[in-house]
Amino acid sequence: MADPLLSAEGISRRFGPVQVLFGVDFDVRAGEVHALIGENGAGKSTLMKILAGYLEATEGTLRFAGRPYGAGGAEDLGIVLIHQEFNLAEHLTVEENVFLGRELRRGFLLDRRAMRERAHQVLGELECPVDPAARVRDLSVSERQMVEIAKAASRDLRVLIMDEPTAVLTKSESAVLFRLIRRLKDQGVAVVYISHKLDEVKEISDRVTVLRDGHLIATQSTGDLDQDAMAQLMVGRAISDMYPPKDPPPADAPVVLSVEGVTVPGWVRDASFDLRRGEILGFAGLVGAGRTELMEGILGLRRRTAGTISRDGARVRIRNVGDATAAGIAYLTEDRKGKGLLLGKPLRENLTLLALGRFGRVLIDERAEEAALERAVRDFDIRVRDPGVPAGALSGGNQQKLLLAKTMQVEPSIVIIDEPTRGIDVGTKRQIYLFLHDLARRGIAVVVISSEMAEIIGLAHRVVVMRSGTITGILEGAAIEENEIVRHATGLKGTDRNAVVSA
Amino acid sequence: AQETVKMGVSIPAATHGWTGGLNWHAQQAEKELEERYPTLDVVLVSASDAARQANDLEDLVSIHNIDALVILPFESAPLTDPVRQVKDQGKFVTVVDRGLTDPGIQDLYVAGNNPEMGQVSARYIEEKLGGEGKIVVLRGIPTVIDNQRVDAFMKEIEDSNIEVLGMEYANWNRDDGFRVMQDFLARFPEIDAVWAQDDDIALGVIEAVQQAGREDEMFILGGAGMKDIIRRVMDDDKLVPADVLYPPAMIAEAMEITARHLVEGEPIEKEYILEATLVTPENAEQYYYPDSPF
């Protein structure tokens, strides 16, 4: 066995009073993919930030090729971290971001052509269509993630650490990423791979390390583990049947939301669908299909040029989120950091921001807020040791939970959730599925946009498939299975709008 | 030993040339008077706006507990009441230059005469032009002083054939004088005289005129008695044939008189009006203080 390229011994880390890592050992060899898994808040990102020199360890030593190195040195050693939370300068262009801090130059001046070409090439290899001259702030989350990957890939790497890179990617993009990882592997790069998608872990990794509550649980070769075993190690108990049994609403259930011919310029053309009481309606499609944009159009967050929206048969005017909330519609954005949470503000203020009106018209009832926070922490199992910290201090998955809790504060009768389990561990995922299932049973109508096929298939009573801005089909019953969805998503099938496919 | 007498002096901060001179003369006088009268203590404060000057008056009374106040008001109207308050606490009040709206307040008034200054300037220009010609006027900072000067000036030339081509504010500031004059020169092909009203402005104007090479076409009349200008008058510079005095030294005079009255109990008359003297090559020498910064 080759000895490790990068190794960490007895790493501990505390944030003020709270300790989040307890003497963790971890190593990765050249040409190996080492997966790191664990529940939300287990300490994965923290550990990786320490390896990559973004955080100091409270205790423990780091070695590279046997030689100890400090936080400062990581960059020069070729240790690169792709952050779980985006780490791009929004005002700058893709190309500027990719080369930020290590620009190519000719003499004093930037060699802009070279950089543009290089950026083009790297993005090309990642099959990512974005223009290097585009501003990052104009990109979608998925594109941003690809840019992050491009940024990392364009360096001369020795160790590549990826913190949930596929959380915001669709299958096809993930496939591209895996090809990249394999190539790097062959070049002898050591890869650390964090993910909550255990199938991916199984597919790509050679070894798996499991963290739980900041403690090292096990490090084993992937061959010896199946997904259930991994899940069990993570959560500490067995996880059976991820998805609760579906019980669709009766066919005559009233239509609570009906969308007619909505067009969002540049994004969505003439989209129509109905949503029934107590129904879970899935939205599938490739990145850029425009699902998010359609929903944002409905919510009045993007300009609609055409289309009508009816609640319980009556037309409603929705010009902004306020109107939507008044109409009992709540939306959970896919862009947690950019549009979802105020990372600098405490949990309480984030939780109640959307529903602040309910916590006192004139003066805010802070006691009620506290109560709400306690409830939310309980109901959504938000793992935070000190509720005083700002939302930005939560682990990625726990931020997602907080966002979900925030959305539910308005007690909507229609919930639109964009990527509900983005960055959420298997155990909690199941909780969320149960939660959604439960909402539907209580007669609430749920729309789920997800890039995880399994999630759509496992949850949705009906599935709307979109492709580049148009609805290509609405699947029901047995028609809800992978091939059928992919065919519609890729345009092999069904273009006549609202062709209801069932079997 | 004799118990000491405190004299508070409140003046505008040095925000342009003239007030700069004012500050300098005040400080000179402070040094000199404190030497001459061991029992006299002078407290000098300067303020950058009317409200602040009112604050200073409060502080002079409440903190320094002065016996007498010498003030050159930032503006007449707003400071009338604050000064009255000082008076009401039984202090001796000397007002300099800008009269309060209620003259009843002051025990002593040492005044420059703004209307007269405008008048004298107007008369000079009028006769030098032989009663007719085209002139431009550069005004100071929008204040009562500026208005008094300009109104008097306009009134004086009313019934002559002098045409005022243009009027702009130059804020008693060289750069603005230069800027405004440049544009006047661009705008008017023919200018016979410039009333700059202030020597700082005048200096800017001179540069602009020289740059345009139109020195021989016009003359410039400033005001105040800044040494550089007096110098030019002395060397009878055709471009600056005269100047109208409005000496910042008046503050020193006021302090002096007040001090003498306080310490030696010397009797005083209620008003000292320093008339706006016209400085010409003939009498220039006697108004030239080479060592003053102004």
Partner: protein
Amino acid sequence: MQSSAPDTARRPSAGLDLKVYGPFLALAALILLGVLVNPVFLSPGNIINVLTRTAFIGIIAVGMTFVITTGNIDLSVGSMAAFAAGVAIVAMNALAGPLGSGWAVVLAGVAVALAFSLAAGFLNGILVTKGRIEAFIVTLGTMGIFRSLVTYLADGGTLTLDSTIRATYRPVYYGGLFGISYPILLFFAVAAVGALIMYRTPFGRYCAAIGSNEDVARYSAIKVDRVKLLAFVFQGLCVALAVIVYVPRLGSASATTGLLWELEAIAAVIIGGTMLKGGHGRVWGTVAGAVILTLIDNILNLTGAISVYLNGAIQGVIIIVAVLLQRSGASRR
């Protein structure tokens, strides 16, 4: 952005706490200095004087706290004040005929001042929100506009309140309750209300939310434009209140009234611990900041020692040191 800074994220409470207490520490230090320089400093008379004159800037600064918290800025407050004062004076003098010189006419003047300031604030707000122009530019423009309107109104000179009306109005500045002058009372009333709005009402929360991330605010059903607009209108209101206690003091308005007040107000806000980038508003800090600024002037007057020319330099040094003191405190934590 600053929000997500990992290091600040790590010890959020610490940093904030000091942002909260820092200004008061600085204030305490300054008071100490004052006492050392001259014991008279603590005489009730002096204290009252200082606080009373803080009132104008202080009240305006409270409004500024909201504007800055939403991530905007208002450079026009100084000339807005001059303008409102001017209009009020003209109105009162004009109405003296019909209404006599009693409280009726004063109230009329107050009403006029209010109306104009609110309108001015509304104008700023509309241009920023609907016109989508940087607040800096908008208020730079309106600053010039208001300033020269008052110059125009005064024909370049000074607008003076009719002395008989003045007599009626005077007590509003010089009078008081239990030895505390009305301006001080108003100042603290405004601060208290401001603090209540900032910390306890949805509006305050919304201002902070918008200042820290406008998108999140929009996605959270906050009417971003309306909140911003309201912040500017509230600023207008504060200016009006400041004017109401200013006019009886000097009884006049001119082109130079309120010159550079905007700078002082902003400085008070920043010294108070509010971030210029927005997202965090500290009303009581602003109060401390305003008092600090006036104290500096006052302390300089306590000592006849230094050359008058150097006042500005000493002010500058004290301001920087005062803030440095807070920050270094922060890092010590």
